[in-house]
């Protein structure tokens, strides 16, 4: 296992990062001007890293497939960003945020990384406020907080239901400042097609200009991949249509180990699927669980009557409803972590209690919250003995102020008024905790190739807590990479510009061009979406919320066969010299067809249930996840060896010195 050196610095947990920063090498400002860095992906992690590295003086090139850096999918995050500020004085601290995150991740993340994340979290808020990010405030002018699933403190900062948008626009603005100074060159509508290695080190990329179809060579002294997650392997997810694994997978094929691919977060509160035409799923922020109560009918016949349209939820009396999260988990109730909430919804729907046509939906009900807030508002407005109507009207106003944009979005999509009738929700693929294996410095197993944000595996273990993705993306980009990458680049001050006419660039470019020709040369039987949807069905049915060995073995076979079929028979109209969205999709789906198989293999290897990975064979009699710390307390990092089924497993043992491993309980 010599290869997987996590490079976690020695010393007490709370001092590791400070000591490490004090000991690593720095690059002097004059030399930074001679060093180039490529950053692929311009979301929170990539955008923040680009801004900071350019500000430090490096020459930065950014690449994104979108038409502007501002469109990266970080923008869609709704609920908030965690930080251990303890502004509410409710007992928060770096340690508590660290503890909650490790516990929430079901003890499958790396202690030192998580502590660092908690440690820099407070700085993120300071930074963003200085940049003019308009976080929600209280009447006294100070910042407001809300609570999120899996924790007992209020540490989440937010900007209405658009926190990701505001943070991304902050990072985008910081990038713009550097673009205006000429320190960042931004390549939009460009897709990374391959990583170029020279003497074992990442020294550049091959990119395709998505407008002209040109294949371009770009060199640098280091390459950062901040390209997000791979949730779209399921076809239907809350990811953007273009979100893909290509950059990470290309790096994997060039030697970067891929860690824990089976750790996928299925988010409990999404709008249910409405039909076969569906192209993507829409999330309803977890913050809704602060006020919404989740339930299904107690009796099967009621559920059936609702499905057939003979009964409405409003007709069902309080005692005929099963608030199953409150029943099963009295301590956390509707605010259990996402994996627990999702599985509980699936359990009820599988048992026949689902409430929409497809039987795959549960209610998220705001009636109690409307009543509670309405009474409070009546009191503070001086209305004594308010009648029911007044209470409801006032309560709806409060709910609208809190969640108005989400309620509006729901109504536009579902065509029902969630103020009057309970929302219907069902779990959907949302975030992938797995990703490229990185050490403490965020370097992958390819020297000079770094991975940040959702693209790496390091901080969330087997399950991510709400409002932690934004925190990790910005922490990696603003505060971690700028230090650790400098340490690596201090060896490159005499290297000079990397020539793009090296034979390694020739070879990589040829490989890319051959691959594109091969895609264009398919026999033309089926569209790219046909294959993507088939892959998605296999993934959802056999590698979804509950997995077992039989299904996973089948998935491996089926995906492998589908991949062969794809390369033989895919149909891509037009040509490769110019804009061709079908060709773009095809390249991405081709990589999903490899990743999907590795995903299943990883899930099959992990004979335990932890976080988002639930194996039916490993559960308690009450249906709770059964972890196996003795045999599986490790990161599974896979080395590419040709076909995904031949990937070789490397383990990084997880050491817990500052936290006691316990069975996660939210009861």
């Amino acid at each position: 296992m010599g290869i997987l050196d996590s490079k976690v610095p020695a010393g007490p947990l709370a001092d590791k990062w400070t000591n490490h920063k004090n000991q690593i090498d720095l690059v002097n400002p004059a030399n930074k001007r001679n060093i180039d860095i490529i950053i692929v992906g311009t979301g929170l992690a990539g955008g923040a890293a680009a801004a900071t590295l350019a500000e430090l003086g490096y020459n930065v090139k950014t690449f994104c497939y979108q038409d502007s850096p501002r469109r990266a999918h970080s923008i869609a995050a709704q609920g908030g960003i965690n930080a251990a500020k303890n502004y509410q004085g409710d007992g928060d601290s770096n340690y508590r945020l660290f503890y909650d995150t490790v516990k929430g991740g079901d003890y499958r993340s790396r202690e030192a990384n998580v502590y660092r994340l908690a440690e820099v979290s407070a700085n993120i808020i300071d930074q963003c406020v200085a940049q003019g990010v308009p976080f929600a405030r209280e009447y006294g002018g100070l910042l407001d907080n809300r609570s999120f699933g899996g924790v007992l403190v209020s540490r989440t900062f937010y900007a209405k239901g658009q926190t990701g948008q505001q943070l991304l626009l902050g990072a985008y603005a910081a990038m713009n400042r550097q673009i205006n100074r000429g320190k960042i060159k931004s390549y939009t509508r460009h897709e990374m097609m391959d990583l170029v290695k020279i003497d074992g080190k990442a020294r550049g990329i091959i990119a395709r200009n998505l407008v002209t179809g040109e294949i371009e060579r770009h060199s640098a002294h280091a390459v950062v991949l901040a390209t997000g997650g791979y949730g779209n392997v399921f076809f239907l997810s809350t990811n953007a249509m273009g979100s893909n694994v290509m950059a990470a997978w290309r790096a994997h094929r060039k030697g970067a180990f891929f860690a824990n691919p089976c750790y996928t977060q299925i988010h409990p509160t999404c709008i249910p699927v409405s039909g076969d035409h569906q192209s993507k799923l829409t999330l309803m922020s977890e913050s809704l669980r602060n006020d919404g109560r989740i339930w299904v009918p107690k009796r099967l016949e009621d559920a059936q009557a609702i499905r057939e349209g003979k009964l409405t939820p409003l007709q069902l009396k309080e005692e005929d409803r099963d608030y199953y999260l409150e029943r099963r988990y009295p301590a956390f109730g509707n605010l259990v972590p996402r994996d627990v909430a999702s599985r509980a919804a699936k359990e009820r729907c599988d048992a026949g209690f689902g409430v929409n046509k497809t039987g795959e939906a549960v209610y998220l009900d705001f009636a109690s919250a409307i009543e509670r807030y309405g009474k409070e508002k009546a009191m503070t407005s001086g209305i004594k003995n308010p009648d029911k109507n007044t209470i409801t009207t006032l309560g709806k106003e409060v709910i609208e102020a809190k969640y108005g944009n989400l309620f509006q979005m729901y109504e536009k999509i579902v065509d029902e008024n969630p103020y009057e009738t309970p929302m219907m929700i069902y779990p959907a693929v949302h975030y992938t905790m797995g990703g490229l294996w990185v050490d403490y410095n965020l370097q992958t197993t390819v020297e000079g190739c770094y991975a940040a944000g959702e693209a790496n595996f390091s901080d969330h273990g087997a399950n991510r807590l709400g409002a932690s993705a934004l925190m990790q993306g910005l922490a990696d980009g603003y505060f971690v990479l700028p230090y650790t990458i400098g340490d690596y680049l201090s060896n490159d001050i005499r290297t000079g510009a990397i020539p793009t006419d090296a034979p390694e660039f020739d070879a990589a470019e040829k490989e890319v061009k051959d691959r594109l020709s091969k895609l264009m040369g398919g026999k033309g039987l089926h569209s790219v979406d046909y294959y993507h949807k088939k892959l998605g069905k296999i993934m959802w049915n056999k590698c979804g919320m509950a997995r077992n060995a039989k299904h996973l073995n089948e998935a491996i076979e089926e995906i492998s066969a589908l991949r062969a079929d794809f390369w033989e028979n895919v149909k891509i109209p037009g040509d490769a010299n110019g804009m061709n969205q079908e060709l773009e999709k095809a390249g991405r789906v081709a990589d999903f067809l490899e990743l999907g198989e590795l995903f299943a293999k990883d899930a099959l290897n992990r004979n335990e249930s932890c976080g988002g990975h639930f194996r039916e064979e490993y559960q308690t009699p009450e249906g709770e996840a059964l972890r196996d710390d003795e045999n599986y307390r490790y990161v599974a990092a896979w080395e590419y060896k040709g076909a995904p089924k031949d990937a070789v497993l490397h383990k990084e043992e997880l050491v817990y010195e500052n936290i006691e491993l316990k069975t996660r309980s939210y009861k």
Binding site: A48, T52, E55, Q66, D67, S68, P69, R70, R71, H73, I75, A76, K85, N123, I124, D126, Q127, V129, A130, Q131, G132, P134, F135, A136, Y139, L142, L143, A159, K160, Q162, G164, Q165, Q166, Y172, A173, A174, N176, N180, T188, A240, M241, G275, H277, Q278, S279, K280, T282, L283, M409, K412, I413, D415, Y478, S527, P573, G574, G578, M579, Q581, E582
Partner: protein
């Protein structure tokens, strides 16, 4: 539902484009407008024709990638939604729907319904930021208290998604609503005061350089804006601009 689509087809930036008719059937009310186009494209691909290319990404109304002029309106007939969140239940069986790209001199067509909106990025690059280093070594966040009303108003301006509907709606193809949203966000916050003069001057200069037209107060931009960005922002930008002119 059966519909007739009249869609702008254009091979690339250099070619001439034209409207082409496409009949489509089996459209359901629960489909989004873009899912309806997915169905059309699947049919075109299976017939061996080239699909219609259009910009889209998040499909939840926040990334600002999708566009489309639908029956003459940016993002179509519904209010406060982007095209990706427009649902087919807003149309009727037998309707003819005209689908064009966003039209503006500053938005050249790249292919079919895809336009180049990088001019909007360049406006932001010219001054849409606060010049603080991203080292995290700033004051504590609560050391800058901000009146809730101002913070909320700044947030309202900041929710612009940069889709360009305001430009496409405007008979002058003006980008005033877009530019003023960013100017307003910072004008309303204490953090934005220090660079206020340069910011508004630089952003307005870049806006003019890109070939966007002037504002004649028709208010079409506000009506069509999927995020409800208010015209007040334009008034605020004008005020900022004049006061910047006086300061020099």
């Amino acid at each position: 539902m059966k519909l007739t689509l009249k869609i702008w087809r254009q091979k690339d930036a250099a070619s001439k484009g034209k409207m082409v008719d496409y009949p489509i059937s089996g459209v359901e009310g629960d489909m989004s407008f873009l899912e309806m186009l997915d169905v059309l494209n699947e049919q075109l691909i299976n017939k061996g024709e080239e699909p219609v290319e259009f910009d889209h990404d998040c499909r939840e109304g926040i990334c600002g990638t999708c566009s489309l002029q639908i029956n003459g309106e940016p993002h179509g007939p519904d209010r406060l939604v982007t095209t990706c969140q427009l649902h087919m239940r807003k149309f009727n069986d037998g309707d003819t729907i005209v689908i064009e790209p966003f039209r503006a001199t500053a938005f050249p067509v790249l292919k079919d319904l895809i336009v180049d909106r990088s001019a909007l990025d360049r406006i932001q690059q010219s001054g849409g930021y606060i010049s603080v280093n991203t080292s995290g070594n700033t004051v504590d966040a609560n050391a800058i208290p901000i009146n809730k009303h101002d913070a909320d108003e700044a947030m309202d301006a900041a929710t612009c998604i940069g889709c360009g509907a305001c430009v496409a709606a405007c008979k002058n193809a003006s980008a005033m609503l877009f530019t003023s949203a960013k100017v307003s966000q910072f004008a309303l916050l204490p953090q934005g005061q220090i660079e206020a003069t340069e910011r508004v001057q630089n952003m307005v200069r870049q806006m003019d350089l890109e070939g966007f037209g002037n504002c004649t107060n028709t208010g079409a931009c506000e009506v069509e804006c999927p995020k409800g960005i208010s015209l007040e922002n334009i008034a605020r930008m004008n005020r900022e601009y004049y006061s910047a002119s006086l300061k020099g």
